[in-house]
Symmetry: D2
Subunit: 382 residues, 4 copies
Amino acid sequence: MKDRIVLAYSGGLDASVAIPRLSERLGAEVVAVAVDVGRGGASLDAVRERALGCGAVEAEVVDAREEFASEYCFPAVAANSLGMDRPLASALLGPLIAEHLAAAATRHGATAVGHGWAGRGRDRVRFEAGLAALAPDLEIVAPVPETGWTRDKAVAFAEERGLPIDAAAESPCPADRDPRGRAAEHGPREDRWNGSFEDLFSRTGNPAEDLDPDEVAVTFDGGRPVALDGETKTPRELVDDLDRRAGAQGVGRTGAASDRPAGLQGREAGESPAGIALTTAHMALESVTLEREQARFKRTVDRRWSEAVYDGLWFSPLKNSLEAFIDETQGRVTGEVRLTLHRGRIAVTGRRSEEDLYDSAFAACGGDHSFDRPDARAFAGR
Amino acid sequence: MKDRIVLAYSGGLDASVAIPRLSERLGAEVVAVAVDVGRGGASLDAVRERALGCGAVEAEVVDAREEFASEYCFPAVAANSLGMDRPLASALLGPLIAEHLAAAATRHGATAVGHGWAGRGRDRVRFEAGLAALAPDLEIVAPVPETGWTRDKAVAFAEERGLPIDAAAESPCPADRDPRGRAAEHGPREDRWNGSFEDLFSRTGNPAEDLDPDEVAVTFDGGRPVALDGETKTPRELVDDLDRRAGAQGVGRTGAASDRPAGLQGREAGESPAGIALTTAHMALESVTLEREQARFKRTVDRRWSEAVYDGLWFSPLKNSLEAFIDETQGRVTGEVRLTLHRGRIAVTGRRSEEDLYDSAFAACGGDHSFDRPDARAFAGR
Amino acid sequence: MKDRIVLAYSGGLDASVAIPRLSERLGAEVVAVAVDVGRGGASLDAVRERALGCGAVEAEVVDAREEFASEYCFPAVAANSLGMDRPLASALLGPLIAEHLAAAATRHGATAVGHGWAGRGRDRVRFEAGLAALAPDLEIVAPVPETGWTRDKAVAFAEERGLPIDAAAESPCPADRDPRGRAAEHGPREDRWNGSFEDLFSRTGNPAEDLDPDEVAVTFDGGRPVALDGETKTPRELVDDLDRRAGAQGVGRTGAASDRPAGLQGREAGESPAGIALTTAHMALESVTLEREQARFKRTVDRRWSEAVYDGLWFSPLKNSLEAFIDETQGRVTGEVRLTLHRGRIAVTGRRSEEDLYDSAFAACGGDHSFDRPDARAFAGR
Amino acid sequence: MKDRIVLAYSGGLDASVAIPRLSERLGAEVVAVAVDVGRGGASLDAVRERALGCGAVEAEVVDAREEFASEYCFPAVAANSLGMDRPLASALLGPLIAEHLAAAATRHGATAVGHGWAGRGRDRVRFEAGLAALAPDLEIVAPVPETGWTRDKAVAFAEERGLPIDAAAESPCPADRDPRGRAAEHGPREDRWNGSFEDLFSRTGNPAEDLDPDEVAVTFDGGRPVALDGETKTPRELVDDLDRRAGAQGVGRTGAASDRPAGLQGREAGESPAGIALTTAHMALESVTLEREQARFKRTVDRRWSEAVYDGLWFSPLKNSLEAFIDETQGRVTGEVRLTLHRGRIAVTGRRSEEDLYDSAFAACGGDHSFDRPDARAFAGR
């Protein structure tokens, strides 16, 4: 029986072309595995069909939508790591896909994992680092030599073979939908000065459009978002709703990526409406519930968490211990934050928490007009 | 001859009442010294008149407007410390006033320095820490016992003495104009949920108003802002113009102070239009000019700089050495950043720099589609 | 019925004199509470007698020996915080005593806590910070005004009253036995150059003496020492035995305190034989069991833990979250370390652990001659 | 004319064998360049002869002894980075050799740089990183495929070709003399428990030997060592003398490397007598001359400096800015420290400095018996 390869499949051009190329190069059967994180795009049936049409012996779509929100996005919110100058949610996709491809390899008895990323982009690095951590014995095969194919060459190959691909199609593949991935194709440095951004955005509306403000109250329980406007939701529902509402107001764009590789691209079009909204609300709640020295050190921990995830260390001892610190602090991060979303602007217009330090502050300061946050001594009892 | 006290004078109620109270309590002559940082308010002549009318033997207004922008605000921009969750510019006023009161004490042969801050607010702490550092021999006298007067009691005293004060008046006193100082009077915790903020703002317009977008290009030279829209300006001119333009668009408000004491007040109304605009632009420029590991550690240094300044350590060995690190990094932070200011929203819509790492990135990566910022090795030569 | 005060009692001069002075000044009954951390000194009965002889209405000695080793020293070892340039074990005594005095206050229905520390030494600060955290409602009374009594004045007062004190006596009071406390009396700066240290040490022998080497194997389980030379011991037994063996070899002295206040004294005589030996062994074991990036960040966490404890934040949210990080890392710090103790020298001469990264290293590096510690990817699976 | 390669030549086996192998494989002329850092070994003439005997067209020995001490070791002392759990001085050799090979390549018109390191050891990584930073256009050629030759195979090749090598000989090659390099050959993990270390040491005497104590006073000026026992010396003289004196007492060994790769070897034999002695003295002087918060943050900077150097980032923007911080702090690190070196033990037995904070401490604390280091406010004036 032939060897089997599980392929991280997006339905996109590179991944589709990879199916015949890998099976021919390695004389192996290709099982296409698409991981659905709920970003829409082509219908999942279409994706499955396309994979089979390209020669996959099997094709499956894994529903990771709740898991993505709950196990990947929410920890990033607790680490305040989806804000303006942090990696966007797309940085979380590599390890998620790696996790499911490793599981699929076992399920299908595959000895290797393939993917369609050309070049050495960060998403590929994170995916491969995740696999190395979870399944060090699996071989990782890229469809193309490092030197890579141009998009044209891939299109030509697809047409010559009559592959059912649609180069232009939106796809559910996270890597393809990584705003940075897209932005990366927008060329030379000059564009960073002259280029218009509007055409790069797909999940956020134009902030210049005329809309009435939208107010949304986010409820946190132990640092995790649990409700919108008082209505309990599953993680996926909550992220989707907020993505929609913040996106509609043009909230969640970032053109000022700081230590993200996007910082080096021609033009950037970072989009993370729910991510930025939840992080803004979370930081506002921490500011009234965490003791100052703890809050200060948490910034150092948060920052290291972001760097580690950015570097592909999602599955690592470092990240585990950073999260132990973060989790210990989140018990008191319980309460409600009101955000005003309006034409690209996000403002915190209300917060309330049983854990609010406000009263303690006065207790600790003899009731004078101290504006200072009470220091550690005021909380040790808690 | 009688002892002399120099009084940090704001023209406000507490400071005005302090003149007769201090001179009576200590049997000393009071010299009123107002430090003008260019925030408008009552005319400087009016301030001088009021001080004399309250019994000061002398009254002077020190023009610190260029110094405030150049020596206080710009270093904070280089440290990325005027952003959304950092202390606002008002945190820089304590040490500036301390510096000038220490000088005035020498000029007037005073043996003590007085001020009008009641309570133990952070502004007072920074002012007193600055004095202790610069002139440890000067006695510091507060007009009132720690237990403080209520505002009503002060007003009554002023009326009884017929002091020419106007409790409602705007004043040039930075402390009085510290948004946190004002916000602090807005009472109980509930207000943090229900209160409207609009009435608390004085330097930013209502973001909900209908306006056309404003685009402004900020030029940095070695990390310092030097021009707007290509026109060279003095630090003060640059800060004032940008304060006006960003403020007009409702940009520069913060209701989500993080480790600022404001986080504990009934309602916050942080305003720092130029501060937030310059920091946003500066971070965007650093993101394309600083090598990654250097940029990462600079975040730790920036954060510590903010904490030190917040804690009143403006004049300290720690801050001096943190700034040596920061200054060493800023040589390459030269270029131009375009900001779009629109109805409360600030977006980076363009940047260009001779120091842009973009090309090096490709050189370092063999021209493949690497989205990654080139690592340290790519720059050592520079 | 009269008010009651619980007094942190050491049997030393200051604490003994404090009994009559406090009861007279406050017209209250004094209950003397000594906390025994197992440092020997005067017999506990003698201490009890002395307290009653000085006028205490009750006197009790609390046995905190196991707790001190287990709940105070071992967490410090896990944080690598008892090493050469870190606070010595005596820094842990303030919070321990505070904990027991707070409990005693409840037990005896006391409304205040007294102590014998004059001045503003760090030990006093830690004690008072601990009380403020655990029992904010208890009043803290120092026996003397800040300006303090000289030792002579205290002796005179004791003789005049016929108090049964012996100024020279050793005592079980940690504060009195804090080497820094003692060293602090050794005067002017010049002594730091010329003074001989030998007379300052009481727990370490003279390293110049001729002795055969002593080899001791310390077994750690999850970062906690559990056995010496393969023999299981209680925390107290283990610390006492190692204190004796390392001390006999003159190991555990420090004359190079770095950020400890002792750094400012005329002469320092830091002693912590078991503390330094356990920390040396613990660091050696971590170096072969923790992944590199995790080990690196742990140094930052360890350092902050030391600073927080030094600053008196033993009972604080910050320390709780730092320990969550540390605890998460300690699971793999299991194994055995052999130390050679010889005439003031301590050397790690052997280690073994099931968690040793050595083999993984080769696995991760394709078996080449890499000397490098394997990076995070090699462990994520664990 | 044939291409030219400059070869980092040590006189050792691998480097000697590399000469014919590289010239044959690449059809190029090999210029052997040995960098003398003053660690003795074979005579420099012998090294030159051997290179020519192995077929080098030219051979030269660069005297980098003063530079190594002054520009590499002393900055590491200022960063407190040669201590017990930090990389030893050998970590500094890679960049130094890279610097001189890059210069030699220009001098000899070479297009490539060769070296004799097999495997992927850290020394090789640092050397190659340094070259990439200083001369990105130079090709780097290893004599052997990554899979490497065994030592036996190399010896056989040498004998077959009649190369004048002496596998056993000491050599001036830093890489060969890197204790870690040597230790790395000492095999399996068990040895870390059972192996004796004595045979691994070459620069330190046996601490168990009977010797009288040696006292040495080190004078620092602005953080740099300038004299021993009051006698001014050049950096090289000072390091050599101290290496000899500390080494004679068996001081400077480390068997407890923490985040060094050695942590993974069968047995470690780190030796850095002068490095550990100077770092111990330097830390002791910093402890009485640096303000506390500055000293605390410097630990974070020191640590990052060590990590960066360990990682091969000697020539990097990060290191440059870390050193700007360090240099700013060193101005006050001026004074004299007395060390007692005795049978493996190093103790600080005296220090004096005009910058001693001791008096300021009292000034800052109202003269009470505060043991606390005065905080920042006490120094700002300086």
